[in-house]
Symmetry: C2
Subunit: 507 residues, 2 copies
């Protein structure tokens, strides 16, 4: 299948690749021979207006048909076969097994949302009239939910399938009844085109309005501004850096009409190892944390970036075990050369902070590879350097020794919001865990016990979000069944005749 | 009981009334002999820090005890007796029967939230581990909700009880587990003090941390800024004008950490009278709309401000009936002299718009009274003047004749967001209603059939919110059971031992 490099604008492949940009082969560290168009202002406008047009019919589509559409997207993604896997591997440098797993997760996520809306799109509340109530009669009132309208979605660099073109934001918006205008990530435009092709085939198969989904390519920041500022866009989903996310947030703040912005921006995912656990499982816990850190070269939003443990007789052994594991690590390719450069600069900067010690580094590799790094420090240094609480995107972690549980709690208090935190403990650590768990819960979207933060289960009870900067909207999750609700809003129907009620609100 | 005029700062009555402001007697149109303190920067800071302190214990309080506290507030409000009613009447000019009804609603609302959290604070989702699942085991994951933290609440002028000190925002935040820092409305500071006294008595009775509730008095805008910008404030509730609401919204946008802002800002609550209904119930529907418009001198957020109907043989008779009803109306006192002046200016401005006809006015009254007004126009004029879609706070409505259902739909398309809209129709109007109901639903938070918009039922299926500017957060309601969820956020607990789980998430 040949990649055309164009934008998918409401069913039409549109644009000229001249003057656009080139796909990049992450492993070979060189441009691929595929040119891509930068979406023009007119194309962005058309995509949004067509999406608004499509909303009229798509928002009224019976949930059964919406579910069929979601499953059709999954089928078409699978039908792309090995080409999709090969292209995603080439563009991101991630191994085939990981991409295959991510494809399974993406298709599974579409199916989960399909199952959910089929089982009942939302939980209606129906309260019948009480005409004889004193002092006033009670009217018939029924609470339902409406889709918000056109949703703008921005793809993430680190999950070319699960958080990109047909990823969680797209799948949940479509499940909610909202058309999607997608901005592809410029680090994997060909992968995005293939998935968009799958979605457009599903649209055709299900005979939907082609405005239900558009894919816009480009490296031009103006495309993003145009999407988030457009009056017909009623919600935005974004996964990426705090820097870019906050640029979008500020632009959204300038709108006349406020809209929800669901940005997932970053997280250090602190790991707390309690005293008895540290003593008993010294080697194991070090090895497991290193394994978690190395997944996808640390380019997971749930990568364990800060490890906290008591400064006791086992601390040195724990650090040595972690250092040994890191030292044996091969370097690996990063998602883009820019990400590799930023990572290297961060590692360099940290080495220059007084009181921070480079504990170990992995093996060196090519210029665009990530060399894993472990830093160690004490609590006083951590307290004095706000920078040490910031995310480093890549396989680097900071190990912090604390004097006692009070210092551990003080560290928790200093943390910004996170997607996750883990407590590693034995039964005998319970009383310390009880002190830690409550304040730590208020800093995270997911609190984990004796498991690693990487690997987000896609299920109804998942929460992938958290206090800022983990999320710009603390009340929202981008993974799990509740993700659909981000793109719907309540409406009360009062005294409505049956003919004017949505099906779910009929008796 | 004498009014002290001070701020309630975490259980202490604090401040000096010298240099502050004076309560105002709405009916007599003159200052009352009660001085009030403007809260100082230090008092605001203390109230917020004490609230943050109180959050530690209050957020952990068993829901049964939280429910007991809410009911105790209701009991203490009732125990204030006639003094509360008299004071609220004096400060707002609203009649005693209305204030008594509002007190009942306020106490009932506290009881409703108490019942709801007792029945189960939220719906937990528990998904057990599947250790043998392929290709990867599924961890135990449980979705629960945490209160957000300190909530800043701003009282409304037009509901001195139900949307003020112990109103919906306060009650739902307290129900959610969040301490409240309340900015009283300067139009009814003595009423606010009495209700704050009731809350502080309930705090003492229930032996809670006094930081759970503070009341700040003042006319100084700096108080509001300080509250909404404070890092320890994690959500804000506001009911008031679009102008003031958007000032707060912009200040909230400048925060480093984004927080939810639940502003309810204004609504014209359009009324659509279909052809057969207009023909059959000409007089009745006119009278009922006038009655709804006149409630509380039109100072209801759900007041019917725009009436739309076909330009057919019954239109003139309908207008005449409405004009006659209005002409017979006595003038009435408004909430404040400033509101009366703004209302008069709006009515004056409208009279100067070409194509807008003053259909009728109610009787004249004192300077600070509201004289009801009906304006009539055609669709072309309505389309050409964006100002005609804006809310006039007071008993003024605009009657718009439309040529046909297409024009009615075009008018719907032009509307900004509204709290409510009503469709008035007969069975024989059904096909037109079906065309109207879907686009109209997307413009409102509550869609009503053959009933008036005034009178918001307090029940689990109510939605009081809507697209902007009805609400700054389209996904939130300020009335009804779902209001609690505004002040909570999801958290997933993964693989947690039973001892570290909140009660609701235990098996």
């Amino acid at each position: 299948m040949s990649i055309c490099g164009k934008n998918l604008v409401a069913g039409e492949w549109s644009g000229t690749t001249t003057g656009g940009f080139t796909a990049f082969h992450a492993i070979n560290n060189e441009p691929m021979n595929i040119e891509f168009a930068d979406a023009t202002e007119q194309e962005v406008e058309t995509a949004i207006l067509q999406a608004a047009q499509a909303f009229e019919s798509y928002s009224q589509l019976p949930t059964q048909e919406r579910a069929t559409f979601l499953r059709a997207i999954g089928d078409e993604i699978l039908a792309l076969g090995d080409e999709l896997v090969e292209m995603a591997c080439a563009e991101t440098g991630l191994p085939a097994a990981r991409i295959q797993g991510e494809r399974g997760r993406t298709v599974g996520q579409l199916a989960m949302f399909a199952n959910m809306i089929e089982a009942g799109e939302y939980q209606a509340i129906i309260e019948h009239a009480q005409p004889n109530r004193e002092p006033l009669p009670k009217p018939d009132t029924r609470l339902g939910y409406l889709p918000l309208g056109v949703v703008g979605v921005f793809a993430a660099s680190n999950f070319p399938l699960a958080f990109s073109t047909a990823g969680g934001d797209t799948a949940s918006a479509l499940a909610a009844g909202c058309p999607v205008v997608m901005k592809a990530h410029s680090a994997h435009p060909a992968t995005a085109e293939l998935v968009a092709l799958a979605i457009s085939r599903a649209i055709t198969k299900c005979q939907l309005h082609p405005g239900v989904f558009s894919l816009l390519q480009g490296k031009n920041y103006g495309i993003a501004s145009q999407i988030v500022k457009h009056p017909k866009v009623k919600a935005v989903g974004f996964t990426g850096s705090e820097r870019v996310g906050m640029i979008l947030q500020r632009q959204i703040h300038e709108r006349a009409e406020p809209i929800p912005f669901y940005g997932e921006l970053g997280s250090v995912n602190p790991q707390f190892i309690m005293a008895n656990k540290l003593a008993q499982d010294t080697q194991n816990i070090a090895q497991e944390l290193v394994n978690s850190l190395l997944m996808g070269q640390g380019q997971f939003c749930t990568s364990p970036g800060i490890w906290v443990y008591p400064d006791d007789g086992h601390a040195a052994m724990f650090e040595q075990a972690a250092a040994d594991a890191i030292a044996a690590t091969e370097a690996g390719v990063m998602l883009t050369p820019e990400i590799a450069t930023t990572y290297k600069n961060c590692v360099q900067q940290w080495q220059e902070i007084a009181g921070v010690r480079l504990l170990a580094q992995g093996k060196q590799g090519a210029e665009h590879f990530c060399t894993a790094a472990l830093f160690a420090t004490d609590f006083a240094t951590f307290k004095a350097n706000a920078m040490l609480s910031e995310e480093v995107f890549g396989s680097s972690a900071l190990l912090v020794r604390v004097g006692n549980t009070e210092e551990m709690l003080e560290l928790v208090d200093m943390l910004k919001g996170n997607l996750t935190a883990s407590i590693h403990a034995l039964d005998s650590d319970l009383s310390d865990c009880q002190r830690l768990a409550i304040p730590l819960a208020h800093k995270v979207g997911r609190l984990i016990y004796n498991q690693m933060p990487t690997g987000v289960e896609v299920c109804a009870s998942m929460n992938h979000g958290g206090p800022f900067p983990a999320s710009t909207d603390i009340r929202a999750t981008s993974v799990g069944g509740e993700a659909i609700k981000r793109f719907q809003r309540p409406i009360c129907y009062q005294n409505m005749p049956i003919e004017l009620l949505p099906d779910l609100l009929k008796d």
